[in-house]
């Protein structure tokens, strides 16, 4: 692995990690995942409450309590620079910690959206919350997996929960989306599983560190076979992160699913999937020379296809689906360059992406609540009907487009930089060109909101609920504030972007 700029301070004093709640010392190996445990239990509890209680308030309360408890547990969990508890199935290192926080953050905002969305019938919302929490557990475990079994289990946990969540609306499109998602996902994970079995057959090991050692010792025709196994495994992860050509489900599912779920799908599994992919690639590091050209090519193809097709969309959720594919392309840069700088950039951009994309979906939810429509046309003249909402949406879109001084720019800046740093000039140029393409469809929405006259003049009603306002406000504030003062964030992430296999 090439060493980037940050390599000089790879060893970080644990005390500094206290910034995000990493406390030095005092940890008992094997109990390092209380947060996951709390969330799992809480999730099941919320499911029960949701099934029994009237209305969704009790379930919502329980969800927030669970989330708070999980966060507290994560905050207070002892984390040495790296440990491998739970029979070596999971790995707690700064890198996974970052993703666990990302998952929690995603969950929190999605909960806000789900509770505010008028799409979801009140009767089933409780179950929805429960599933969201379980999905969250899956996300955290994906990022922590240190073993093929845990990787598979975590991915299935995420998949199964999301299949159900996608089909939550009682209408044909939702069911259709769920079916497509299910079939596509099951096939992908089946293929991945088969690849895992082959990998196991070739190396005789399941845990990532062992794999790394075993792969390093493989040569000849076996190496060729290893590559086939890796390709099969790639299918499952590529599906999760909507990497071309395993992206086909994305737009259909995003369009059919409830907006809040779409929001979650567009961020959570992408982050966790990237984390897992990163770790898997780390385990297969000896094969890197073979894998890297493919990864680079797919990175470019992914961002280009996502951005190109997004140009012609008329449904906002579908548009954001393609935008997600494009954004995943950018994120993959951080992976594909395979340097410390790249990993940092990946993390920074994930943080940015979390806020700006969830914020954008919050706006979509608000507009759908107000107009009942998810067509782009619903945004026509929005600036006069809901100025605050439009402003927030404009901020998110501009951030997605990578306009400074918003957080998205900082992330993209680092990603492009990591590409150049690794000498991948073509990749950087492709990403830059893509940014320009993407500008069109992002600004098109802004154009509709600000330049076009509204179809009706009265203010949007109902105006966004407090929960939605909170989601919007926090995302917008984070996008703007962290864009203006990214220093602490970068500082933090430069300490977290430490990938270790134990």
């Amino acid at each position: 692995m090439k060493q980037g700029r940050g390599s000089c301070r790879a060893a970080t004093p644990p005390a500094v990690l206290g910034l995000v709640g990493l406390r030095a010392g005092g940890g008992v190996p094997g109990s390092a995942s209380p947060a996951e445990a709390i969330l799992s239990l809480g999730g099941l509890l919320v499911l029960l409450i949701g099934a029994w209680a009237r209305g969704h308030r009790p379930a919502l309360t329980a969800s927030w309590l669970t989330l708070a408890a999980g966060a507290a547990a994560l905050w207070s969990a002892p984390v040495p620079p790296a440990s491998s508890p739970f029979f070596g199935l999971i790995l707690c290192d700064p890198f996974s910690l970052a993703f666990r926080w990302l998952a929690l953050g995603t969950l929190a905002i999605v909960l806000l959206l789900a509770s505010a969305s008028r799409e979801l019938a009140a009767a089933v919302r409780g179950e929805c919350y429960g599933l969201l929490l379980l999905l969250g557990v899956g996300l955290m475990l994906m990022a922590e997996a240190n073993h093929l079994l845990m990787a598979y289990l975590a991915m299935e946990l995420v998949s199964l929960s999301s299949y159900v969540l996608v089909g939550f609306l009682r209408e044909r499109r939702s069911a259709e989306a769920a079916l497509k998602y299910l079939l596509f996902g099951a096939l992908s994970s089946g293929i991945m599983l088969f690849g895992m079995s082959l990998l196991f057959g070739l190396t005789g090991s399941l845990a990532f560190p062992d794999l790394q050692a075993a792969v390093a010792g493989t040569g000849g025709p076996m190496a060729r076979a290893l590559l086939v196994a890796a390709a099969l495994m790639l299918a499952g992860l590529a599906f999760k992160i909507s990497m071309v050509p395993f992206h086909m489900w994305t737009p259909d599912v995003y369009e059919g699913a409830p907006a809040a779920v779409t929001a979650l799908l567009s961020v959570g599994p992408k982050a966790a999937g990237l984390a897992l992919l990163l770790r898997l690639l780390e385990a297969l590091a000896p094969l890197w020379a073979s894998l890297s050209p493919l990864l680079l090519a797919l990175t470019v193809v992914t961002m280009t296809l996502g951005n190109l097709v997004a140009l012609v969309q008329t449904n906002v959720k579908r548009l954001l689906a393609y935008s997600t594919i494009g954004q995943v392309g950018y994120l993959l840069i951080g992976l594909a360059v395979h340097t410390r700088v790249g990993h940092e950039a990946l993390l920074v951009y994930l943080v940015a992406y979390l806020f700006m994309n969830l914020g954008a979906f919050a706006c979509v939810v608000a507009v759908m609540n107000g107009t009942g429509s998810e067509a782009l046309e619903a945004f026509r003249g929005l600036a006069r009907r809901a100025p605050g909402l439009s402003l927030a949406f404009a901020v998110f879109l501009l951030s997605l487009a990578g306009i400074p001084p918003l957080l998205g720019f900082v992330g993209k800046f680092l990603l492009l930089g990591s590409a150049l740093d690794a000498g991948e000039v073509a990749l950087a140029v492709a990403a830059a060109v893509n940014s320009a393409i993407a500008l069109y469809y992002y600004t098109n929405i802004i154009r509709l909101m600000y330049f076009a006259p509204p179809a009706q003049a009265e203010p949007l009603s109902p105006s966004p609920s407090p929960a939605l306002r909170l989601a919007l406000g926090s995302c917008a504030a984070a996008t703007l504030a962290l864009g203006l003062w990214p220093g602490p964030l970068l500082e933090l992430i430069s300490r977290l972007a430490v990938v270790r296999l134990l």
């Binding site: 306009i403 400074p404 001084p405 800046f413 950087a428 830059a432 600004t443 330049f451 970068l490 430069s494």
Partner: protein, 486 residues
């Protein structure tokens, strides 16, 4: 803290405007006017306190901003940026006066307007490349909205075109910035300039190309100029003024502050190409301007022509050439800004910009006619007015280095007379078009927004030394830096 206050003025103004209720139009306007006015005063204070003889940056402020990337909030001015800062503050104030004719969505307008001014000022003040880029892009968004919401004609199309062109150019620049950072590990422009001299030629050329694309779109350099006529034509009058007066200068300034100091060997290598592009700009812009039937479009193309002199002077790398290029930037900002104001005055009354729709207004609106003739003459480079100095110095500087390019560009001077007089002819001369029998002359407010520009144009034309002396030291050092790098 002077520079921070200078930036803070419009920023505070923007916050005040945002805090005011939508209906308090008068208060909003007053706040904007005050904010830009204070900025202008501060910039003049800057001019007074500036010491032309001292070397290096002045009024420097430096504080860590993003420590992990070694990015600093680093501001400062020297002889290259100071004139442009003052120009920006001046045009910002005058265009704010002209913004009184904005009829709707005042609050949004003035908030964006002030944000735009922050970006413009910041671009000229920043000494940190990252900070520079942030301000550079910050200019883009408000301008996009100004054109798209308050513009006329095909405003959405023009706004979009402006946005995409400029951003595409900026992305090339961004890549160059990144490549630079990962090579030199600093964003500090002064350190980069020192480090740049040590880069091998190939790398410098790549960097230069990236910066060139970014700046070329803004300047604009042929063939990246086609956003300009559309954006200028469809922008509201104050927007056009700032576009022509300040935004184009950002591109030229970029060459002075970034491309040339950081890639000196490449800059010298590309000198011939730059000179050729400059000549193409001059002649091509002048020819195309001649064929325009829309007043604003004509002025827009004349900008293309005039900015060619900046390139030509820049390419020469002689003291006269650089002085001329800088002078031309300031002069063009003032004169073209005024031209757009004048177009706006006419458009507000007649709602047309077709040159053939006018005729004989000279007798009907003598004050307006006087202003128009004055600025047209300044635009065509009449000696005694500021336009001449910039053109002449650029030509003198370039003549010894790029002989034929300079000679060909003289064609542009003749053509400039042709198209500017065409304007005067079609608008002011001939028999009065009966449609405008009742056309009122300029109001006091309009006169006030133009009079300072008139004085500056005349003053710079008669006493150019006032400006040239401010620039001299910094330009000498730039030449020494670039030429010494060989």
């Amino acid at each position: 803290m002077l520079l921070t206050w200078l930036l803070a003025c419009p920023l505070i103004g923007m916050l005040v405007v945002l805090a005011l209720p939508k209906t308090a139009v008068r208060a909003i306007r007053a706040a904007a006017l005050l904010a830009t006015g204070f900025a202008l005063l501060l910039s003049l204070e800057l001019l007074i306190a500036y010491q032309p003889a001292a070397a290096g940056m002045q009024f420097v402020e430096r504080a860590p901003w993003i420590p992990p990337l070694r990015i600093f909030y680093h501001l400062g001015v020297d002889g290259i940026s100071l004139p442009l800062v003052i120009l920006t503050a001046l045009l910002g104030f005058l265009a704010c006066i002209a913004s009184y004719s904005i009829a709707e969505r005042h609050k949004e307008y003035f908030a964006l307007y002030l944000l735009l001014e922050v970006g413009m000022l910041g671009t000229f003040l920043a000494l940190d490349l990252f900070l520079f880029y942030i301000f550079w892009e910050l200019v883009l968004v408000p301008m996009y909205f100004l054109i798209g919401i308050w513009g006329g004609g095909r405003r959405e199309y023009s706004a979009f075109k402006f946005f995409v062109y400029t951003l595409a150019g900026s992305l090339a620049m961004l890549l160059a910035i990144l490549a630079l950072y990962f090579r030199a590990h600093t964003f500090d422009l002064l350190e980069l300039a020192a480090a740049g001299r040590t880069f091998e030629l190939g790398f410098q050329q790549l960097l230069f190309l990236g910066f060139f694309l970014g700046f070329a779109v803004k300047v604009p350099i042929f063939p990246f100029h086609t956003w300009l006529p559309d954006a200028h034509v469809d922008a509201p009058t104050p927007g056009s003024v700032l576009l022509a007066g300040v935004l184009l200068k950002m591109g030229g300034y970029g060459f002075f502050r970034i491309a040339y100091p950081i890639c000196p060997a490449a800059a010298m290598g590309f000198g011939g190409a730059m000179a050729c592009l400059g000549v193409i700009n001059i002649v091509y812009g002048a020819f195309v301007a001649m064929a325009q039937t829309d007043f604003k479009r004509l002025v827009a193309y004349s900008s293309v022509s005039h900015m060619g002199f900046v390139l030509l002077g820049l390419a020469s790398l002689t003291p006269e050439g650089l002085q001329g290029a800088m002078f031309q930037m300031v002069s063009h900002g003032v004169v073209t800004g005024a031209m757009f104001l004048l177009v706006g005055v006419l458009y507000d009354r007649t709602h047309t910009r077709e040159l053939s729709a006018f005729g004989g207004l000279g007798a009907r609106v003598p004050v307006y006619a006087g202003f128009l003739i004055f600025f047209s003459l300044a635009s065509l480079g009449l000696p005694g007015l500021s336009g001449f100095i910039g053109e002449f110095l650029s030509l003198v500087g370039a003549f010894g280095v790029w002989r034929w390019q300079t000679v060909v560009s003289l064609l542009g001077i003749v053509a400039a007379a042709a198209y500017m007089l065409q304007v005067i002819q079609q608008v002011l001369l001939g028999p009065l078009n009966e449609r405008w029998r009742e056309l009122p002359d300029m109001t006091l407010r309009e006169g006030l927004s133009l009079a300072p520009l008139l004085l500056v144009t005349l003053g710079l034309g008669v006493l150019p030394l006032a400006l040239l002396e401010v620039q001299d030291g910094a330009l000498q050092r730039l030449i020494a830096h670039v030429v010494g790098a060989r």
